[in-house]
Symmetry: C2
Subunit: 483 residues, 2 copies
């Protein structure tokens, strides 16, 4: 530790008090490795300010001392975006204490809450007043509002409600110089110049630190029906989605696809699950249809009629319709257990990709075949949000592979190949997980040069000294062979 770092830490301790700053290795440790276990870093200290004013004062202090800052919410990101590097020079800044939820405005259907508010807590708060925050994902028990905004998180309800960006009405953030961008005003329409909150949403803490937000709520779900269908191809799944939307309109809120192998893996891994269908199908589809109070009464009738008609029309091969909440939960459990069931099968490289929605079935077929042909023994699976043109494309190492060695060589080659193909199909190498440190170099390699230059211009303008989450998303200057 340098004497300058000592001076900084003493000043930070004065500012934040004993509850707000620690260097205790036991307390730091859980926050220094990302939840997928791919990255581990070191830090000067863990700061946990208790107010926006404390965040602002701390960021000013960091600016004075040239101390880099790594903001962190629930530490459940997928790309190492909240994990510091190994230099140990950065301050880890937790927003978790900023978890206050203001009284919900039920009239305007809006809620203002701190960046540290946990997603599941927000769900409960909205439900308590007959409303709903319509974004959910596997990490809801740890993911925070600030992290969800900073990564523009997606999840299983994007089809109807959009990603996090679509749900943010107002934002408060601390900028690199410690000034506070304060735009929590929940105006539905506001064209006073550049929409600055849009610049901060999805910027992964590299342009500012989100401290609070005003979010959009929707009416509570009064009734839901889950359909599980078996199909012979992913092309048929896409056709089924369009037909469902034609028949059931905006009520189709989730449309998840899974290959037979993923379903089999879950059934083998989780004794609490059982096969929804008796026949063998190459693809399985989970469809969630919901209604608020205005459409609840006849939802089940409408779904049953529609599914019957679609079956008659040959659009699906077999299906079950949930008879109640217990069965709906049981069907969702199969979908949600895929990541864990797969993890139990050994090393895998994962890709969160999108291509234009109508091309996704052909892309998956082509990419699965190419990966399995070029890398014998590797099994490729794609599952997820077909309605958004977004799947999680995983390649599982051959049985008995050594994890680290396989990741370093074959895993990397597979990722490069998949990313190359995604770009050729006009897609994105990060549909919903962001860039972080995991995909920074791939973005540099494959990103549009004009876009990368623009990102750097904005980064330099808002964080000229590069102190906000350095090494994540985009660097101040190009790295690698082009530097």
């Amino acid at each position: 530790m340098t004497s300058s770092q000592d001076t900084f830490l003493a000043a930070a301790a004065d500012l934040l008090g004993p509850r707000g700053l620690t260097t205790d290795p036991d307390l730091l440790s859980p926050w220094l490795t990302d939840w997928r276990g791919r990255f581990t870093g070191r830090t000067l200290a863990l700061a946990s300010p208790g107010s926006t004013a404390e965040v602002a004062a701390l960021v000013r202090l960091c600016a004075e001392h040239g101390v880099p800052i790594v903001p962190q919410g629930g530490n459940s990101g997928m790309c190492g975006g909240a994990t510091p590097d190994e230099s140990g020079t950065a301050l880890l800044l937790s927003l978790r204490r900023l978890d206050a939820i203001a009284p919900i405005n039920t009239d305007a259907r809006q809620v203002t809450c701190g960046a540290g508010t946990i997603l599941e807590t927000l769900h409960h708060a909205a439900e308590a007043v007959g409303l709903r925050f319509p974004l959910t994902l596997g990490g809801k028990g740890s993911a925070t509002v600030g992290g969800l905004i900073s990564t523009n998180a997606g999840g299983t309800q994007v089809l109807r409600h959009g990603s996090m960006r679509a749900l943010v009405l107002g934002l408060e953030a601390v900028l690199a110089d410690g000034s506070v961008f304060s735009a929590l005003t929940p105006l539905k329409k506001d064209n006073r110049g550049f929409d600055l909150k849009q610049v901060l949403i999805g910027s992964e803490g590299t342009l500012g630190i989100v401290t609070a937000a005003t979010l959009r709520l929707v009416p509570a779900v009064a009734e839901r029906v889950v359909i599980w269908a078996g199909l012979t191809s992913l092309q048929r799944a896409r056709a089924l989605l369009l037909a469902c939307e034609d028949r059931l309109g905006g009520g189709v809120e989730g449309f998840e696809v899974m290959p037979a192998s993923s379903v089999a893996a879950v059934l083998a891994y989780d004794p609490g699950t059982r096969a929804p269908l008796t026949g063998d199908y190459a693809w399985h589809v989970l469809i969630e249809v919901v209604a608020d109070a205005t459409g609840a009464a006849d939802l089940r009738d409408r779904v049953e009629t529609a599914i019957g008609d679609l079956f008659e029309a040959g659009l699906l091969d077999d299906a079950v319709i949930s008879s109640g909440e217990a069965q709906a939960e049981a069907l969702w459990r199969i979908r949600e257990s895929i990541p864990l069931a797969e993890r139990a099968q050994g090393p895998a490289v994962q890709h969160d990709i999108s291509v234009p929605v109508e091309r996704m079935p052909d892309f998956v077929d082509a990419a699965v075949t190419e990966v399995e042909t070029r890398f014998p023994g590797v099994r490729a699976v794609a599952f997820g949000h077909l309605g958004d043109g977004n799947v999680h494309f995983h390649a599982l190492a051959p049985k008995g592979s050594d994890g680290p060695a396989w990741y370093a060589q074959t895993g990397k080659e597979i990722s490069s190949l998949i990313h190359d193909r995604v770009v050729e199909w006009a897609g994105s190498i990060s549909a919903e997980h962001g860039i972080g440190q995991l995909k920074r170099d791939e973005l540099e390699r494959l990103g549009d040069p004009v876009s990368l230059a623009l990102m750097r211009q904005i980064k330099r303008a808002l964080d000229p000294h590069g102190l906000l989450n350095p090494g994540k998303l985009v660097t101040l200057a190009p790295v690698g062979p082009t530097a």
Copy 2:
């Protein structure tokens, strides 16, 4: 004309050919005054490139010669954002020739078109394939897609479908150095770093010049019902909106309020209109409820039942329900004729303002009273998009006032007063029309200093020489007393 300007014009003529460049005063004239007639400027020439590549080459040429650029679409903006200043040093850059519409992707419900595409043409193109572009406004016969994106335009369908920003999936724009930001890929989900298109949307041509876009379409309207209701107060209108949304869900697409005086002005001005209701009501409300094919069959029944119940519950005082398209059109005609009927009554200052939705009724009451008390003879009216918390607040000069003198003195005082009040009520001085040159100084006076500093940082980063639409929205350095 300086010799440097001569050199520039010769090079531009070479680049664009005779169809692409003119200095003929008769051809220039219609484009040098904004449509509200508030601003008139001069220009070096009118350039009309025929392709994105030509726009890019022209912008590079301007950068080399230090020639400012004023981009222009249909010249139907409300704030003088597309009118050059009086120096005559800027090039007027029309995007109108970039009006190609690519074959519509009906599967993914997307359309890619040039910036010069006229809104009404886009409506027709979507309708021809059974789809709809769900944004409309009075200037639809001249407003272009590029202008709508650059101003993040609103209109009468924002309640359900959002402003232009919510409809843009992909964007192409030429940046200040002539490079082309090319992101027309219509991905539903893409988290590859900062969402750069969001920076360009609503930036009024000060950060880049929009040349093309990929836009979201929705299913065609299969059935619509228009309701015209009379109410004793604006507070009751707000309560009626919430009740309608509870009963009719997402089908409520328009909710427009008008004071009795505006309706009376239309009836006097337009002999083709007649009063929808027989009684006298302080406020009138137009509600549009639509359904696509999935909900068309029982829409009328549902609306009639709901309105009957709301009447029984005392939520409205009187109402008519349109019996067909002709009557629906007739009711909309009253709402749409307000601006023209008002113009016929003499000089007026207009304010496009928003406050938090639930506070709008009280705001209107307070502001009307204050303006009419402090400025005897002035009549204040507010009408428009109550559901978005956005009204057009107009103050009409006393009968017989001299326009220019009244604008310069009383009109200006009224505008200052209204804008001050809007800020006190946590609102916006520009809800949907943008800033342009009309509100630039008011934004400077009333805007949040941190937001203004951020805008300038972004402006300097993307347009360091200030050549893109200078004098609009935000200047490179602070102006006025704070300079």
